[in-house]
Symmetry: C4
Amino acid sequence: MEIEIGMAKSGRRAWGLDDIAIVPSRRTRDPEDIDLTWQLDAFTFEIPMMASAMDSAVSPATAKEIGRLGGLAVLNLEGLWTRYEDPTPVYEEIASLPKEKATRRMQELYLQPVDPELITRRVAEMKEAGIVTAGSLTPQHVERYVDAAKAGGLDVLVIQGTVVTAEHVSTRVEPLDLYRFIREIEMPVIVGGCASYAGALHLMRTGAVGILVGVGPGAACTTRGVLGIGVPQATAIADAAGARIRYLEESGRYVHVIADGGMRTGGDIAKAIAVGADAVMLGSPIAAAEEAPGRGFHWGMATFHPELPRGSRVEVGRLGTLREILLGPAHENDGRRNLFGGLRGAMAATGHANLKEFQKAEVMVAPALQTEGKQLQRSQQVGMG
Amino acid sequence: MEIEIGMAKSGRRAWGLDDIAIVPSRRTRDPEDIDLTWQLDAFTFEIPMMASAMDSAVSPATAKEIGRLGGLAVLNLEGLWTRYEDPTPVYEEIASLPKEKATRRMQELYLQPVDPELITRRVAEMKEAGIVTAGSLTPQHVERYVDAAKAGGLDVLVIQGTVVTAEHVSTRVEPLDLYRFIREIEMPVIVGGCASYAGALHLMRTGAVGILVGVGPGAACTTRGVLGIGVPQATAIADAAGARIRYLEESGRYVHVIADGGMRTGGDIAKAIAVGADAVMLGSPIAAAEEAPGRGFHWGMATFHPELPRGSRVEVGRLGTLREILLGPAHENDGRRNLFGGLRGAMAATGHANLKEFQKAEVMVAPALQTEGKQLQRSQQVGMG
Amino acid sequence: MEIEIGMAKSGRRAWGLDDIAIVPSRRTRDPEDIDLTWQLDAFTFEIPMMASAMDSAVSPATAKEIGRLGGLAVLNLEGLWTRYEDPTPVYEEIASLPKEKATRRMQELYLQPVDPELITRRVAEMKEAGIVTAGSLTPQHVERYVDAAKAGGLDVLVIQGTVVTAEHVSTRVEPLDLYRFIREIEMPVIVGGCASYAGALHLMRTGAVGILVGVGPGAACTTRGVLGIGVPQATAIADAAGARIRYLEESGRYVHVIADGGMRTGGDIAKAIAVGADAVMLGSPIAAAEEAPGRGFHWGMATFHPELPRGSRVEVGRLGTLREILLGPAHENDGRRNLFGGLRGAMAATGHANLKEFQKAEVMVAPALQTEGKQLQRSQQVGMG
Amino acid sequence: MEIEIGMAKSGRRAWGLDDIAIVPSRRTRDPEDIDLTWQLDAFTFEIPMMASAMDSAVSPATAKEIGRLGGLAVLNLEGLWTRYEDPTPVYEEIASLPKEKATRRMQELYLQPVDPELITRRVAEMKEAGIVTAGSLTPQHVERYVDAAKAGGLDVLVIQGTVVTAEHVSTRVEPLDLYRFIREIEMPVIVGGCASYAGALHLMRTGAVGILVGVGPGAACTTRGVLGIGVPQATAIADAAGARIRYLEESGRYVHVIADGGMRTGGDIAKAIAVGADAVMLGSPIAAAEEAPGRGFHWGMATFHPELPRGSRVEVGRLGTLREILLGPAHENDGRRNLFGGLRGAMAATGHANLKEFQKAEVMVAPALQTEGKQLQRSQQVGMG
């Protein structure tokens, strides 16, 4: 639906997950019969979930626990764990910074250079625990650091930036050729973020096994304020799902659409899948776990940009253990615990047996009334992309 | 109106009661001439109203008073009154729990098993008062407990869950066959909740005399957050009314559409009927009565789910007697007292003589501005389904 | 634009004044050249403005001042001034009531019967001041009291209720026959409220010289909450303007459309006229004058309904003299002073020379962002109809 | 898209910058390669930016600094600097006024007459610094003061009022003939504000090199409240861009569309250009600079209107130096520092090499959720036009 903004400009109407509601069908299903299995390349996960490569959420230790709980955690290979031999004091300092000084001090803390040897050791540490290992690198540095990651035994590589495209233009440096790089690297690669049909389609054509969808999806994500860029997440996912169909037709390959950002409750996750995602990537819900390295604080990759910081260090509190947050049981009713119990419940209540079926669930456009509480919750989100 | 959410997903636009306003016609009518009578099966009620099977709202005592005032109260036959010989201390404890401990402690209190003998006694107690008796059971347990309810003299059975469909699928247990069950039971059955045309139509085909419409209708209902499921109530009612027409054509039977949840004022009730409901089911307005067992607190069936609680124990205060709330007089102007005086006033001001006429009232889509007060009020709602 | 609410119900989209903005044209005009004159029947007013028949706003004294300033004030002939020989102590008590007791006590104060002799005296007092006199009566009582008003020398009769239609149906009492009554009474009659094309058209056919348009127009008007009835004001006015065209074609008579309620600023007044009103009726802006009898408080006719009160006694403060509020100068920038200077400025900035031209101004649908301040202001409105 | 407001009135749907989001494309670009150059008439600016002719933002000193940073500052030639030999004490008093007295006292302070000799001296002072000099005059006074400005060496004349049109009608005074005036004056002229296709087109035909677009664009701008006039900025810009195309076709001349008002972050600026602006005019971001003459306060030209003030003196604080605000680096993440780094980042992330390309960026209609913080920020805007 093209809308005229003015005489010389039109645009499509876009919708966020808050604008969407899943509609019951004429069938319900036993929650015990619901299959949440997610199959990515050669790997099978019990829940369709990745943990964001954010220093506040994923450490080698939480990566292991998330792996045991059935998900896939991504370590930020250009983060604190690969810049500092022992990042503990850095985490402690970040958690203790007063709000008005946080951004400036974090800009300094992240000036510490990345140490390739630490990359190898962190990956190896996760690998030894028997989990599927995943780590993220930016397009600018992936060629420099990827061998260190391979040396540690990395299983899945994530190439991630605020916006990553298959065609990066520069007159100064030779940009990464994603097509060639992915074809040559002997590892499944997930790449993103993106937030348009064309962007998603071209990333799929690079040979990636999955793409991350989400640019400024959250209401409090400051990318929208700082850059003016951002596609509400329901539309971004549904557009990427359209690219997935197109690319499947042209290539026979099925590339996973992973919704990244803006989901806080089980209902948000259910809606992301109901509009077309194969899996979700979670940041702030993981950072709010008792085991999370962030000590109740959360920040994103763009928070410490030296000249144009986007995103905030926000206090997310500690809602429960990783197990409680992902698999329950919940003793609060706000939807922020037992996230995948919520997904299971949504699929049961609408009669869908597995994720592929649930992607076809009926949804309605039903903008949520914004209660005061909701506004407060939203303001605790972190913009990552 | 199908809206494109993104390339690979579309959905209809849905509307809540807050988005709707009733339009005056060219005729007005004497309020004294308005007929609010509601005829359900063999029973006639002076007001088109059921009280929700929520422990905070309906006790045997309030059921009797509601019956005397012209409505139909439904006792939760799997609630406190059938789990505890004397639930008074339990109610007192719930009312005294600090907010942060309420959900967890209520999960424990509701682990006490249901006693079939208490079911029989509670129903009999209501029956002796000469009112029409109604009680609710969940689909999972209705076959186990229905005989105890019949033994007490139950007049109307309500089969209720968050989402109930005519087709429940399970590989573990033999699910309830609603078609067979309703045909064989010698009692009018009301079943729900549902919130779609197809869901409503199939429930009507089971032989039920009425269906409950409403899944996550309220803005503060946490089902939408926890599960992502929910249809704004005006659309849910109007869709169910469409199913009622279709089923009437195919069968000659008129099945009642009972709007369940999300109504707080006389205006909300009027709007529910103006978009197609035959009657309304009220929870929080009843829980806010001085006689209500909840002592100024309100909670729903899903509040105490052991692993995935949805809905809250909220403080609703005590607004007045049941009579004042339902029939007035009101000494406050917020529309929360004299609910059916409000309905009568709405019908008079728009010139409609009875409920069937009022279902044809002209309405407009006119989203209410959200004032701060409104937001606060909404946050006191309880999600039941 | 008919919108499907659900399978069995549709409705038009309606818009409030807050949803509308006036668009500059390619011409501007000298403010001194703008003609704000309003001609109603044989009377000419310098500004297109009536003051609402609300006890908080219009006393005989403020009626005289409003007349001098160029407007037409309507005295409530069933209000405090015709129930009490000296209403001063009653006003003082109302202004001193604590919030939680106000509605109940006002219900009592308004039980004092109307004294026809006082009607005659109040009207005569205004008449002696040389202003055009106007008074309001409800449809139920107009036949009982109109002779007393005529005896005092009433110039313009206003017949007013929440919703008034040309066809009131009652089996108990013989309702007022508006067609006959207006034809026989020797006085111009204004009648309302109404809020639909059909309702407006039929009121025009009664022979009234003007109709009041507005049922629950304000966001905080409790008629929408209590009764569920209400048409956003921009749509209500534009629909009534449609009826005015139709009636002009069928009869050759031009009936004035007077927007009643929901306007607080000069911008609101400008928008009401730009969508089709001939004049506006103001309540709360007048009640906020230093001279207003309400002593900084404001309440409407429905506030003291004995069984179903709608509307509130709200504190509106004292913003300035009547002259400052209507004609300026303003020393605040919130648009609540110099209301008709604002109208003049709007007409100048968009190049329209007089009210009939300004009714054809281009407008856009441009929902205002709701700032916190706006919400607070809105919550001070009073629902009168 | 014409929307029916009611039977007798329709209007187009209009959109603000907050309703718009820029969509990533399938290409990204090196930020170092982005060209932000803005060419206006014979002048080239490193950033597409003008500073508003508001006394709180532009003094001769800040004009020089803004010029050095690559933008074009406009001095208000009817403001404090041309009314007072030394305006410093006046600025100090304004900054010290309590909120409730500010409007009234500023009305008095601005009664001091404009001194043409001061106009000449202020312009000359800026000219000596080697920057491009620009000053604003109102249509009413431009003929009286323009020679004084020329005498000082003015490079660019801005003729500005709330709404300026090519056709001003007055029976009292001979209005400015813009066509003749601009043709005869030997200087590039920018004129505004305007906010419609027709208004923009006719201003372009006067011979102006640029037009200012924006009437009441900000949410807290009180022009919308006081006058009811205002076009949301995205629509206003896109309509003016439509007029630019039309006028280019009919004349071969390209007239610049300068978005004026309502932009606070780099994202806002990016969106203004993405919907069609050639450059932006900034007020409150400049007033919030440490060097700004307003001492942390901001007010607009209409704030001190003697009879109908519109706009407020608001506290904007001091966010950083002019350099930090315009070019960075930022140490906060709210988008209010490094505004043109934000624009550069937006163009890089969406793959556009220069401003003309970026005007063709894909955008979506994606109304931002209003968080509480956003509302607070918005309430600090000043309505200038």
